[in-house]
């Protein structure tokens, strides 16, 4: 068993990280702290998940969210997708393993992956609305969010959702408020099978190795860790029985990265665009300085008068 984060003291404690620990801030720059905090991570072991949804409930509970009563369309996923209130969602897949002939019930806890290279943050136009702490947490600051939905376009995992109530974007915060006072995320706390464990990223990788060995010994020869390098690694990682095909886990992207469209839009378009506007304006000034105004002459007026004379 992985030793869970112990219950914290009931005495007030100072926050373990804050504004001074930002390494990225949307639409603005920050001076990175001299020393990076130990990177944290949540490890979700899909092979251990029993699909009880305690994590979903704990998430709603801790974050004081209420989900609307939905409708049953014959699947276990409830609600049917992530919403502005449901920041984590169990996605159920019935997978027929052709090799073993077994039916496998793959249950993946979906939610923000807390990318090291966060697409949401890169796409965000509002200064400070999305921040990344040096421990790896990517968090939304709703006071600064303008509800444009750019984060949705930036995210390679399709995670943020805009609330229909206040038109702001919501997603898993990795319980940054709990972490700040030394607790683990609410979902990890609630998980009865340790399918969700939390610790430093190194600890989680070690624990994942241990789990992968175990799975391999049970015949899952492609068991592995999902920590996609395309986004610089993530601070929410999965242990997958079939790490060679992540897409079978309710469409977990195979090799996620920030869309090139977003990179072009937020990169070259911005610089070339502003340069083009500047160049056109500069051409105007230059032309006016060199060629001067195009003025109507007295001769022109005379010609017009001559032309219209017959009209009098």
């Amino acid at each position: 068993m992985f030793t869970p984060v112990p219950n914290p003291t009931t005495n007030p404690v100072a926050a373990k990280f804050g504004q001074q620990d930002l390494i990225r801030r949307s639409a603005s720059s920050v001076t990175a702290p001299a020393k990076r905090q130990t990177e944290v991570a949540k490890l979700i072991d899909v092979s251990k998940c029993i699909g009880c949804k305690a994590c979903q409930v704990a998430c709603l509970e801790w974050n004081n969210l209420t989900e609307e009563v939905g409708v049953n369309v014959g699947v276990y996923d409830n609600p049917h997708d992530l919403t502005a209130n449901t920041w984590t969602l169990m996605r159920y897949t019935e997978y027929e393993n052709a090799e073993s002939g077994n039916l496998e019930w793959l249950i993946r806890k979906d939610g923000c992956m807390h990318c090291e290279d966060p697409g949401c943050l890169k796409a965000c136009p509002a200064p400070g609305a999305i921040v990344q702490y040096s421990n790896g947490i990517v968090d939304f600051d709703h006071d600064k969010c303008i509800g444009c939905g750019y984060c949705i376009k930036g995210c390679p995992f399709n995670i943020p959702r805009i609330s229909q109530v206040d038109q702001k974007a919501y997603k898993c915060s990795l319980c940054s408020d709990r972490l700040a006072v030394g607790q683990g995320p609410a979902c990890a706390k609630a998980c009865p099978t340790q399918a969700i464990v939390f610790g430093t990223k190194d600890e989680m990788k070690q624990w994942a190795d241990h789990r992968i060995k175990d799975l391999k010994s049970r015949g899952f020869k492609n068991a592995g860790l999902y920590d996609p390098p395309g986004v610089g690694g993530t601070h929410v990682m999965y242990v997958l029985q079939h790490a060679d095909k992540p897409q079978i886990y309710a469409g977990l992207p195979n090799n996620p990265s920030i869309s090139p469209l977003v990179e072009v839009w937020k990169g070259v378009t911005k610089y070339v665009g502003l340069a083009a506007i500047g160049a056109f304006a500069a051409f105007g000034f230059l032309h006016h300085a060199v060629a001067g105004a195009n003025r109507v002459t007295a001769e022109d007026e005379k010609n017009a008068e001559r032309l219209t004379e017959g009209q009098r």
Binding site: P125, Q167, A304
Partner: protein, 222 residues
């Protein structure tokens, strides 16, 4: 024989100087609604386009309001520009002499208009502004709807929105460049702005810049 260059409302008043009515009151109001919308759109759009200009959201009451207002101004611009389009498109149709005019851009820029073919109500540069703006505004409203999440968020995929947002911003940049050309030309060619404010130009202006239009007006061709 070429078509008449005269629009409804254009007329010539002999005198010293000759005065020519170029734009009707309705056309001018239509133009200025479009103009104000376009400037507001450029300011609010640039605010969301680059963090360096995010401060422009202050003009609209903050980021949230900028995000809310921008698409609505876009709707106003689109409808208003439709009005301009149907008013102006006939005399903006491309003619062979327009290509000649464009090929002599050196003379145009050097204020040597006597070396150019006689121009009707619009010269080739004005026609280019007209047609490019018509195209860009159509592209902008279409791509804009795709990224108008509050009302249309559920109708498009994220990938479609990514494409739309890139097209929207790139097109907006080009449209702003065309707008700069449009405004600069109005300043550079003196006597032009009066056409869109009081609706009138002098006969000399018409003779110098739009001689075929003036001649058609005087001969009463229509």
């Amino acid at each position: 024989m070429s078509k008449s260059e005269v629009d409804a409302g254009d007329s010539v008043h002999p005198g010293k100087p000759v005065i020519v009515d170029r734009y009707t009151v309705a056309a001018r109001i239509n133009h200025w609604i479009t103009a104000v919308s376009l400037v507001l759109l450029a300011l609010s759009g640039l605010a969301l386009f680059t963090p360096a200009l995010y401060f422009l959201t202050g003009l609209f009451g903050g980021g949230q309001l900028t995000r809310i207002i921008h698409p609505w101004i876009g709707v106003v611009l689109f409808l208003s520009f439709m009005g301009l389009f149907f008013r102006f498109f006939r005399l903006n149709l491309w003619e062979r002499t327009d290509s000649v005019w464009m090929s002599r851009m050196r003379d145009v820029l050097a204020n040597e208009e006597n070396k150019l073919p006689e121009v009707g109500k619009y010269n080739a540069g004005q026609k280019m502004v007209f047609w490019s703006m018509s195209l860009f505004i159509l592209v902008l409203i279409t791509s804009g709807v795709v990224i108008w999440d509050q009302y249309f968020g559920n109708y498009f995929t994220i990938e479609q929105k990514r494409i739309a947002v890139l097209i929207h911003s790139a097109t907006a940049i080009v449209a702003i460049c065309v707008w700069i050309v449009h405004v600069y030309a109005a300043i550079w060619v003196r006597g032009t702005i009066g056409a869109m404010t009081r609706g009138k130009v002098t006969g000399g202006w018409a003779w110098r810049h739009h001689r075929r239009w003036l001649k058609d007006l005087v001969t009463g061709k229509n």
